[in-house]
Symmetry: C2
Subunit: 506 residues, 2 copies
């Protein structure tokens, strides 16, 4: 047996992946469970990560002509019911407001009072309430397209929750657009998926597969749901953003009609697209290691921490002066449209200090003592390298090259994640092999297994359902870069529609 | 009778102020009522105004060391009950979630199902739920201060609502801090009020009076409530931001305890402070005129609109080229940390086009036709000047001086609002005069009347209540720049505690 290396996170990924995830989130100080069932508290370190993602995405939305707006938190029950599949899809998991005040009851305790004539549902998504506005805003083809986004909280009463990945309340953006033609709406659906893919790959350093959902995994009420899918380190898939072509379904439900340039009346074609704080969960599970989270520099809550290493109290003032001057130099620099963010941690708590920052995933750690100062150098550790792999660098060179270091880290994380995905992506054409691939070898303590399998599918829901029942494996997507290829359905052997991505998923 | 000048808004302020406000909001395209009782839809033009205010304020918060975080939308009833005055203050107007799914009932219609064991209140404010987190985050004096802010939606079930000024759901920020000493908490309360005052005066061009609320107007559960108060054009007061010193009340309710450096255990001292989309309502009522809203350039949704004036179709392409090149030049410029925002409106809808932009309050309108182009000039109208007061300016001079023009508009709006407030601010020491000042002369159709009266008050709630009953006039604040002065209470004649600001208010 090899030497046991102590890790900052217990258990490790290999020992117990789900528990590892919880511990990473806890140790990173990103978020914690709240006393409200299924809801989380996003702590400052986690919220600033989210803010950075929001800023990047918001800028990209606006570049495509989208404008932000805000619609009500509450949706009257009768609105939700306007689209039959839609209400069916959300009825089982929604928070319902039934009263509008509290009053002392017969036992002297406060109770709900002032019953509402119509219950209000806390928005699980806003197609129906936004559709109502669109129906008022649109009269002529000249009023189209309407390109709207809102940053908001939504509530879906999930039974089993997990921080960032699945919570009863989460933060998200939901885009809603209306168009005069089907073609334009279809193009918009694809355009927004492309934005999500860029955010995921270029900013979160998380490689994704773009594709289309099968009918059974579609958004309730949509004609088509496009998605981006990423592979986590337990080789499961994570849906990281979806873009829906809604056809005229919601336009008909909400009465979004317009007069064409031919003076006929038509229903508009609409889209909706969303991504959420779930992206943070995906980021964590893509990059973190057994020492905690690893933040991609472009969206990191902060970039660099400066830590004085002082044994003699007399040295303290001069080292701190050196550090503060360095901090000013660094903060003057820009890294991907954002000022470099620098933390100074002068707490005297020994080795725990450096480990805290490792667990928080800050890209670069810098230690500075009297000798470094005398040599005008800094002692630098990078989060993407082993803890002990630190190096002394001339201070001025460090300042000059810091954004290059950060780019190296960013690119390295992406490459590592992409290699990982490639390593566990297979093409399986044999049914037994397929079942074997997705079956844990030790049923008692399921090890990390499987991955993404590109296999043929006949297009029938029966086969999809059977595989789901047997293996808990679903079709993550019908990949959009799939090459036409003949083959037999991995389940029934009938002719397939092409290879689709099968995987277990969050 | 003088010549009737046609205004873009009907009725005018003088004719029917409340209705004028509704019409200004409607004509400006900032927001509209939603089908959900008391909730509004904030449209893109209004939301970008709010975004600009948010960005300014968020930057100022962060400069004082505050970090953003996010806490649950729902508050368990038992949490709200922890502070007696607090729950009393909010029980009458809160949305209560009682069920977590919808099911078909006996008549086949969807009904609330899955009753919650404990009702959840949609947050009207978050002291109690955030206090719970603080109680877990604080153990030692070393963990203090905690300086947190959240941008969120809140719900207060108001009976009479008005767009931006009072809506059932509104967007706001709520800051929450915890400190080791009373002194530090009191200072923080004042510091955040100062931030609000700076945002109001320097960005919204809305002069405010800083002061303290009387006991009856305090936030439920607070020891002291500081506020900023502005005068609207109907001479009523508007509370535009509040900062609360909570003493140890909420720390005791939530158990926020810490070990001091003397190793004793103490409750923390907390503050909270909030401002909301109500600021937009204040901005509208401070600056708008009978032609619609007037946006202060520093927070304006956009700065400049460029409009081609083309009679011969042949001229169109060259004029548009000139306009697009001008737009690029302008967009390269920065105005108070923000890129200049430029709209191009080439719709061929005649004179309605210019009036739309006036009603939307854009600071600068630019018309360009073939002759302007030939002379390299632009024809400029400013929203702070009468419609017809337009001038031809050399294009390059216009580009060079645009930020100066915008500053002139910004400063002019502030000066005008300050003059207005001064004009209708009085010091009254005589009871009859006071009653007369606040009594409309025509009871049938109350004209705009009154203003701010600096008058003496004995400090007793009885007198305050009496004036409120008689005149609907309240103490807006005990001004913080008040000079100690002896005088008799305007109501009872007993010795006063100093002059306070009396006014009718929103």
């Amino acid at each position: 047996m090899g030497k046991q290396i102590k890790t900052a996170i217990t258990p490790t990924r290999a020992e117990d992946y789900p528990q590892w995830y919880q511990e990473v989130v806890k140790a990173s100080d990103l978020a914690e469970r709240s006393p409200v069932r299924g809801c989380m508290v996003i702590k400052p370190w986690g919220y600033s990560l989210w803010e950075n993602i929001v800023n990047v995405m918001d800028g990209m939305f606006k570049e495509t002509g989208v404008k932000n707006a805000y619609f009500p938190l509450f949706i009257p029950l009768s609105f939700l019911e306007k689209e039959a599949e839609h209400v069916e899809g959300f009825a089982k998991e929604c928070a319902v407001v039934t009263h509008h005040r509290l009053e002392k009851g017969s036992r002297g305790a406060l109770e709900p009072a002032g019953k509402l004539a119509e219950p209000l549902v806390v928005r699980p998504t806003s197609e129906t309430i936004i559709g109502d506005s669109f129906s008022k805003w649109v009269a002529s083809y000249r009023d189209l397209p309407i390109l709207i986004n809102q940053w908001a909280n939504v509530v879906r009463w999930e039974m089993r929750t997990r921080l960032f990945l699945r919570t009863s309340e989460f933060l998200w953006q939901e885009g809603h657009t209306a168009h005069a033609t089907q073609k334009e709406a279809v193009e918009r659906t694809q355009l927004m998926l492309d934005v999500y893919a860029r955010v995921a790959e270029e900013y979160l350093a998380m490689p994704v597969i773009k594709g289309k959902k099968s009918a059974s995994e579609r958004f309730p009420g949509a004609v088509d749901t496009l998605c981006i899918e990423a592979m986590m380190q337990d080789r499961k898939g994570l849906q990281a953003g979806t873009s829906h072509f809604l056809g005229q379904n919601f336009a008909k439900a909400s009465g979004i009609k317009f007069q064409t340039d031919q003076e006929t009346e038509e229903y508009a074609w609409t889209t909706s697209w969303g991504s959420s704080t779930r992206l943070v969960g995906g980021l964590i599970m893509t990059h973190s290691d057994d020492d905690g989270i690893v933040l991609p520099p472009k969206v990191a809550s902060s970039h660099i921490v400066l830590m004085p290493i002082v044994r003699r109290p007399d040295d303290r003032a001069s080292v701190m002066e050196f550090i503060e001057s360095l901090a000013r130099e660094l903060k003057d620099k820009t890294y991907h449209h954002r000022r470099l963010e620098v933390e100074i941690d002068d707490r005297e708590i020994g080795g725990a200090r450096g480990w805290e920052w490792i667990k928080k995933g800050i890209p670069v750690r810098v230690e500075i003592g009297p000798r470094d100062m005398a040599e005008n150098s800094v002692y630098v550790g990078r989060r993407d390298k082993p803890y002990k792999d630190k190096a002394s660098i001339n201070k001025d060179r460090f300042v000059a090259e810091i954004t290059g270091f950060l780019d190296e880290i960013q690119d390295g994380l992406f490459d590592r994640a992409l290699s990982f995905r490639k390593k566990y992506t297979v093409s399986i054409d044999d049914r037994n092999e397929f079942y074997d691939f997705f079956t844990p070898k030790n049923q008692e303590k399921p090890e990390i297994h499987g991955g993404f399998s590109y296999s043929h599918w006949c297009g029938e829901e029966d086969c999809e359902a059977r595989i789901k029942d047997d293996l808990s494996v679903t079709i993550r997507c019908i990949p959009s870069d799939g090459v036409p290829e003949k083959g037999k359905c991995i389940c029934c052997g009938r002719p397939g529609i092409g290879r689709v991505v099968f995987a277990k998923a969050y």
